[in-house]
Symmetry: C2
DNA sequence: CCCAATTTGTTCGTTGGACTAACAAACTCC
DNA sequence: GGAGTTTGTTAGTCCAACGAACAAATTGGG
């Protein structure tokens, strides 16, 4: 029941059915590989003749390859189909406040090489450094493989990004405003470049590289320096009219007497549950942006330390985490009541203490969710070891290849 | 960039391009009527030959008719096309706490007849009463017109609705749980019936019957007994995994010391800005569900009275409205920060005092929005006289006729 | 060992509809 | 009244879905 936009519709041409069916076939191969042509025909409910034509096209363009002929109980033995991933390289870049990560992976997200360096905040210098590292990585790892080719570069940035143009509109952490990151990197590397902000990229990674079920309707909440959410509704990511959707971190949970937030308002979810907030609570201080940053810098204390001390039995650390968990639960209840996703994935350092915080989170959700079904919304942690942001960067490159053609 | 759902995709057939282009043509006629075939061809960027074929099909099925031949500066004079609306009837039903409205309208939302009666809360009795009234309306107004035919019935209900099955999952106001409303009405009337909850229906009305621009990305906030939001993202309405999306009324704005809400939690947006909350604030009482309902019943005071007294200069009434406006602004800022819509339409009795409350709302939004663009999100009032919920009921019937075909 | 049965994958003819170009219709202007 | 212009139709071409027949490759039974 989508409305047709009469300003920028896409008319169907003679080639449209082929484009759609080709893409469906590709997705089915991806999900059920290895799969035979005959099985594909059954799943698509079409004749085997058409599958031959569709697969021929996929073979020609190299999205798919023919694997082994396998045994069958009776009849002619089928030649299995696979999506080509191993010799298609993707460069993933994760720019963070302190460190920047560069990863080389295959098309399905399997890592090949990973390196990191201190983030350079000057855009031009950062682009130069990245270009050099990417070229070196591709030369050493790409050159060795016979036909390996780089399909593109995905960049994840903290802050607001106009995905269409690849411009970083505003990033407080990097001190950027209107930086044409895609144009600069694409020019330096002569490769397709995609730029996206962190929570949306993490959601895209779940959607395109995660479990294959139920990926059309969920939320991804990142809890680290900030708190953001990537929303996926009706199989599509929500970017918002001005690329600022998903800022659940600045929902006021206590607009009257809450702590001051970096955004200038009071009582934001982020002011209760960011790593900064948790650590400063442990130190017995209310969050006060400038003062707290200084304090943390002086003590050198991180969220990982607080979690470690809590599991060692430090009562004050436990109390600080409990309080964070309680507010996090309230924040998750807000997501549940407003967009009602099939599930919510939570990423960030707090997942290291998941067993400890999850009962508190669930209790807070139960107290606020409007129906029993909503209260039972699965909340799934994703550990930081999975490199969710780098996987998101890979998804930026992979998604356009598997996405449904835009039509009507 | 939509992901293809490998469980329930829709394969493209030989007839798919025709279905898509036919629908695009229909939408263009609807938006630019009266329009000639040649103009349609230019707008769709296809040959006039194809337009002839497409329009022939639309004419045959009766979605479109040929109107007058109009003058042109030179060349052959074009025969104009219009969408057929006048002899296609729609029944719209709005079930509210105290009154139920039944309206007969044409396909474009122009009212033909409107009546109302005291709501019957027993489902079977309500269905019987509705069926009788609808039959009578169609007999008197439909019979007179030669070929007038009823295209369907739209029903708007306060509470959660499973739109797919037409079941009312839960409605606190009516005291319903799992009522098969669509099945019952469709059986009694032998007409297609669509059921939806109020905020989503209001959003659908904006989308399909409102201004034709920018209808693919906005929010509709209803402020009356409850506070709910209908979200439209990427041209599609957001229903949520369990049909509970859009419940922004229960976002906690003050989880620590806020007023008690009907939902059981404290400090919900609804507890600050519902009509009940505003009136009880005027009476100098904090909201306390059971007690307040009784109080309002005893005094007989309504939100309309408070607004009237405020415009007469009653300082206490003004203060009560100001406070509601302030919290409403914070609530709108939550919508802006989380889904970042192109604009937000506000419906409800409060729109009668719009000139008074809008500066306060805008100030609250400005204080909380994260970017200047987001702070400038247009907030548009829709007066209750427009019957937004009945228009929503009409949209339920009209939408499937104009929607893009589901493909891929 | 050969033939029936079974399953996979290809080929070929039909058909619907997008696309193109020519043509008929209807009008204005000179 | 003919040239020019614009609208709408028609006839022919071609791409791809569709269906059916066929070739390929295997198992099992007589």
């Amino acid at each position: 029941m989508r409305k047709i936009d009469t300003q920028r519709f896409v008319r169907a041409t003679r080639a449209t059915p082929r484009a759609i069916n080709r893409q469906i076939a590709l997705n089915l191969v991806r999900e059920h590989q290895p799969i035979s042509r005959a099985d594909l025909a059954r799943r698509m409910d079409i004749g085997r003749g058409m599958v031959t034509a569709l697969v021929d096209e996929l073979l020609r363009e190299g999205s798919v390859y023919e694997g082994a002929v396998v045994d069958a109980p009776r009849g002619r033995r089928p030649k299995m189909l696979h999506v080509r991933t191993r010799d298609r390289l993707v460069v993933a870049i994760d720019v963070r406040f302190s460190l920047t990560y560069v990863m080389l992976s295959d098309f399905d997200g399997a890592p090949i090489a990973l390196e990191s360096f201190d983030t350079i905040t000057a855009p031009a210098a950062l682009v130069a450094e990245l270009a050099g590292r990417v070229r070196r990585l591709l030369a050493t790892h790409g050159g060795a493989r016979s036909a390996a080719r780089c399909e593109g570069v995905g960049v994840v940035v903290p802050g607001m990004v106009d995905h269409r143009t690849g411009r970083v509109v505003y990033s407080p952490q990097l001190g950027w405003r209107d930086v044409e990151l895609r144009a600069a990197l694409a020019h330096a590397l002569d490769l397709p470049v995609h730029v996206e902000n962190a929570p949306i990229a993490c959601a895209l990674a779940q959607m395109w590289l995660g479990q294959r079920h139920d990926a059309g309707d969920f939320a991804y909440m990142t809890v680290s320096d900030g708190v953001g959410v990537g929303l996926v509704v009706n199989g599509e990511v929500v970017r918002g009219h001005g690329n600022t959707a998903g800022e659940f971190g600045h929902v006021p949970l206590n607009a009257v007497s809450g702590p001051r937030c970096l955004c200038g308002a009071t009582g934001c979810l982020e002011a209760y549950t960011s790593n900064l907030a948790t650590v400063s609570r442990y130190l017995g201080q209310e969050l006060a942006p400038a003062h707290t940053r200084q304090l943390l810098h002086d003590t050198g204390l991180t969220i990982a330390d607080v979690i470690a001390r809590a599991s060692d039995g430090d009562a004050r650390a436990r109390a600080a985490l409990d309080e964070t968990a309680r507010w996090l639960g309230i924040g998750l209840a807000v997501v549940i009541n407003t967009v009602n996703p099939a599930r919510i994935v939570v990423g960030g350092e707090i997942t290291a203490a998941w067993d400890h915080v999850v009962p508190i989170i669930r209790a807070a959700i139960a107290a606020r969710a409007l129906t029993t079904a909503a209260a039972a919304t699965p909340i799934v942690p994703e550990p930081a070891s999975e490199h969710p942001r780098l996987r998101g960067a890979i998804a930026l490159v992979a998604a356009p290849v598997y996405a449904a053609p835009a039509v009507a």
